[in-house]
Structures are given as C-alpha cells and as structure tokens.
Amino acid sequence: MRAPLWRRVALNAAGVGVFLVSAFPVFWMISTAFKPNGEIFSSTPHPLPEHPTLRHFGSVVDGSVAGVSFWSYFANSAAVAIATVVISGLLALLAATAVARFRFRFRTTFLVLLLVVQMVPCEALVIPLFIDLKRMEMLNSLVGLIAVYVGFALPFGVWMLRGFVAAVPKELEEAAALDGAGPLRIFFRVLLPLVAPGLVATSVFSFITAWNEFLFAYTFLKDQDKATLPIMLQFFFGRSGNDWGPIMAASTLLTLPVIAFFLLVQRRMVSGLVAGAVKG
C-alpha cells in the first residue's frame, strides 16, 4: 500500500508545516533574548539577531532588573524541585511496593483514592491549601511548598511505580530473603535497581512539574528572597511590561533545565506518561 509520490511529499510537507508552527514561538523567544533593543522594538521584524548580544542575560543574572540576584531564585527553584523529586520518589516507591506486593484491608480503598485524586484539578485546591499552610505556619516557606508539590506528585508516581514493582519477579526477593537479606536490604539492593527506569520517568515528571509550577508558588511565597524562578519572571513581566529582552532571556534560562532533562530521557518519559494516561 504505498501512496503515490506527490501524496507522500505533501504529507511530509504538512509535517514540516506543523513543525514550523510549533517551533516558531520558541524560536522567537530564544532569538529575542539575543537581540539588542533596537532590533526587538523595530517595526520590521528581524527573525535572527543581526548583532547578537548577551546583555539581556547579563542583566537577568546579575540581578540589575529584579533587584534580587538570579542565583537566589535559581537556588530556591532547584532546592524545591530536587527535594520534591527525592521525597516523592521515595514515598511513592514505598507505597507502590506495599500496594503491589502485599494484600491488606484497605488496599482497594487506597487504589480507588489514587485514581480519584488524579482526577482532581489541583488548581481548585489553592484556597484550602493556602489556609492549611497558614494554620501550620508554613506559608511563605519553601518547606510548605515542597510538601504541597510532593502531595501532588504522589498519585501519579505511586500509580506508575506500582506497575514497575509488580513486574519484578517475586522469586528474586524471596531468593535474597533466603540468603539472609533483611527487608531494607532487599528494598535497596534488589527492588530499587530493577524499578530504576520507572523511577527515572516519574522523577523527571515531578521535576518538570515542580520546576514549572507558578500558581502555588505565587500564592504561598511572599518574600522575594524565598521566591522561585517563575515568580521572578512574573515580577519582571509585571514591572517592566514590555522590556522583552530580559523577559525572554529569563524565560530561556528557566526553560533550559526542563529541555535538558527532557531530552535526556525523552523516550522513556513519553512512553511512561502515555502508560499513565491510558491507565487500566
């Protein structure tokens, strides 16, 4: 069933068209970040910077636009994202092991709960969580934000890792137990290496979610020295309106880690996410 040549060319061309439409805004963001102001604000569009400059990146990084150093926001963002990944990964793996390996009374209840909370639009919870954190005096603290992110990352993580744990043959663990390994040793030495691919996929997912998250960080964190990168960006945008050079430079810097992580594990993550979406 080979289609005629013109058809194949036309369909591949349509693919290229989709590529151009998808890539254009990203291309424009990166290209604007390198343009001097004269080219950004000229009435004839310049697709590529004719005199590329690193000035905008400089003004973002040295903090002359935001007032607070870029690295302070960056450190907050990195701390929040990494803590979310590590804690949610560990807790999700523990829960997934329990659900996949043991039978106990509220097992089904827990599984149903997992499915239901995955359907909750998290943004709807911003008001009660705000009050929650206020009561626990964790408003305006990175720990409170991390706790919320971990809570949001768990349902998907447990659900996905459950499949990975179930796929590990039980005989392996039993053999290790016979050889005298304790439960902790079995968990770390036998199970962990075998579910590592699943852990990588869920980790990347929770990293990207935490790194990109704006609404909760914006609502909970009030001090600039506690703020994460997306808040710095919003701050720029709100204050300087149309100063596109620094905005696009900062956007590019915010996006880089996400794209890097994504390229690193693209295939695994994609298949994992789809499996999560088409969950049984």
């Binding site: 805004p25 998290c122 009660p128 997306p230």
Partner: protein, 306 residues
C-alpha cells in the same frame, strides 16, 4: 520452586501476635504517602466544602472568627451575572481548546505522523512535545508577545499587506484557546500515536481491498478501535484544561473586563484579590463539580462500549 514455597508455610504458622505485627509492617510503607494524600487532597477538599458555607475571609472579622452562613455563598453565586458568564466561558474554553482543539488536533497529528518518514516523525514529535514541557508561564509570555499590538503576528500581517488588530483585547478567549491548543496538543498526539500503533494493519488493508475510502476506513475501522484511548484522553485533557490558570493569568488576566475570566481566574480573584475566601471556596467546589460531571460523562461512555 520448593525453596519458594517454604517461607509461605512458615508465615501461616506464625502466632497471632506476630501476624499482627507483620500486617502492620505491610501497611507501614503506605503511611507517609497516605498521610500526605489525606493532608493535601482529601482534607482540603472536605475543608473547601465546609468553607463554602462560611463567611471566612482573608482579612477583617471573617478571618479570625468565620461564621456558618448556610447557602449564602451559593445563592450569591447563582444571582451573580459574573458567575454565569464565567461558567459559560469555562465551558467554551474547555470544549474549544480541549475537546475540539487538542483532541481533534492530536488525532490529526497522530494520523499525519503515522507512516511518515522516520526523521520527520522524530523531529516533529520532539518539538511538539517540547511545547508541552515548556513552563506554562513561559508559554503565556510567548503568546502574549506574539499577539500583542506591537507583536510578531501583527508585524507578519503588515508584511503581507493585511491590517493587524489588538487580538488580546478584541478576542481574548480565542487567543488563550489557541495558546492552550498549541501547548497541549502534544499530549493527545502521544496518546493517539500509541493507540494507532495497536490498530492491526490487516484490518485496514482488508477494508481497503473491500473498497473503503480513507475516510471510511478511519470512521469505521480506526476510530471504533481506539475509542477507549479517545475517551481516556478526553477525560485527562478536559480536567487539565478546566484547571488552566497561569496561561490565562499571564496573557489576559481574565480581561479585558471579564471577557476571558474562566472559573479558576474568577475563583482566584475572589479569594486573593477581594479576600472572599468563602465565596472562592464555593467557586472551587463548582470547579470540582464541573470536572466530576465531565468525568462521569466520559466514564459512562466508556462503560457503554462493553
């Protein structure tokens, strides 16, 4: 295999006290995850239901000692023209950008990519998914810059001799819908690509031998076979789109006026700009309910097929 059977038998012979400890040991790994889920999902939802019946606010008397006010928030809501408009905008946004835009767009892309050149698939797939992992905030800036008065879109229109417009003012809902389709279509495309790869080629070939056109093959062979994936996808993207906040917040802020004020924006402004937490909680409950209604429709449709 004998060795495998051994520990099982010893387990059944354990005295009751140790069995109880073992049962506790089985549930123990679950406790932290369960606790966090209770703390950050179940608790807040229940609290939200409660708060929606109170006059709790962020400042003033309602902050220190909120009172139960019965259905006052809900009565206020249903007599508030801003709410009716917001609900309507939300439904239009969800149907336009998720049910039609992302869903149909994702299916079309998956069909288009199915059988294309390997390199085209890899490159297009990569970039489309790239749009999806991009921070929502950044996507909002990009589209704001693109569609603003002195933005690139107007410059392109001028270059080909057309008149530009103030797109974010004249048609804000359309603007955020397009931006959200651009951002979210990748997910649907991935789901449909996976589903299409499970459609057996023999069926399509048989249909084609019987003289079915391309459209008829899609309508009568492919679509019924991927029905389940389609409903799951619809449910996921509907719930995601229902909750879209940052994109709209950045691009239009819900405005001009209230022309793109969907429920999440409305809820946020009532709660954190006007400090009406109780009213905001009631709006959150409506948001959750709209999500639940959509989910039930999809779940029922899924059940019917069996």
């Amino acid at each position: 295999m004998v060795a495998v059977g051994l520990p099982e038998r010893t387990v059944t012979r354990r005295p009751p006290a140790r069995r109880g400890r073992r049962a506790a040991g089985r549930v123990l790994p679950l406790v932290p995850a369960f606790g966090l889920l209770a703390l950050f999902f179940v608790g807040p939802i229940l609290w939200c239901v409660y708060a929606s019946f109170t006059d709790i606010s962020l400042t003033g008397a309602g902050a220190s000692s909120p009172h139960l006010v019965g259905l006052r928030n809900y009565r206020q809501m249903f007599s508030d023209p801003a709410f009716a408009k917001s609900l309507w905008l939300t439904v239009v946004f969800v149907i336009g950008s998720a049910v039609i835009g992302q869903n149909v767009g994702g299916l079309a892309l998956a069909l288009l990519m199915n059988g294309r050149h390997r390199i085209v698939r890899a490159v297009v797939g990569g970039i489309v998914v790239g749009a999806w992992v991009l921070p929502e905030l950044v996507a909002g800036f990009m589209w704001y810059a693109f569609l603003s008065d002195h933005g690139t879109f107007n410059a392109i229109l001028r270059a080909v001799g057309l008149h530009g417009g103030s797109w974010l003012y004249s048609s804000p809902l359309a603007a955020v819908t397009i931006a959200n389709v651009w951002r979210g279509t990748a997910f649907s495309m991935l789901v449909y690509s996976a589903a299409l790869s499970n459609v057996p080629d023999e069926l399509l070939e048989a249909a084609s031998v019987d003289g079915a056109s391309g459209w008829a093959r899609l309508r009568h062979v492919t679509l019924p076979l991927i029905r389940r994936a389609m409903l799951t996808n619809l449910m996921t993207i509907t719930l995601q789109t229902l909750a879209v906040f940052t994109l709209i917040f950045v691009m239009t802020g819900g405005g001009p006026g209230t022309k793109s004020q969907t429920l999440p924006i409305f809820m946020y402004q009532e709660a954190f700009k006007f400090y009406h937490l109780g009213y905001g909680a009631a709006l959150a409950i409506v948001l959750l309910a709209v999500g639940a209604v959509f989910s039930l429709v999809y779940l029922r449709a899924m059940r019917k097929e069996v």
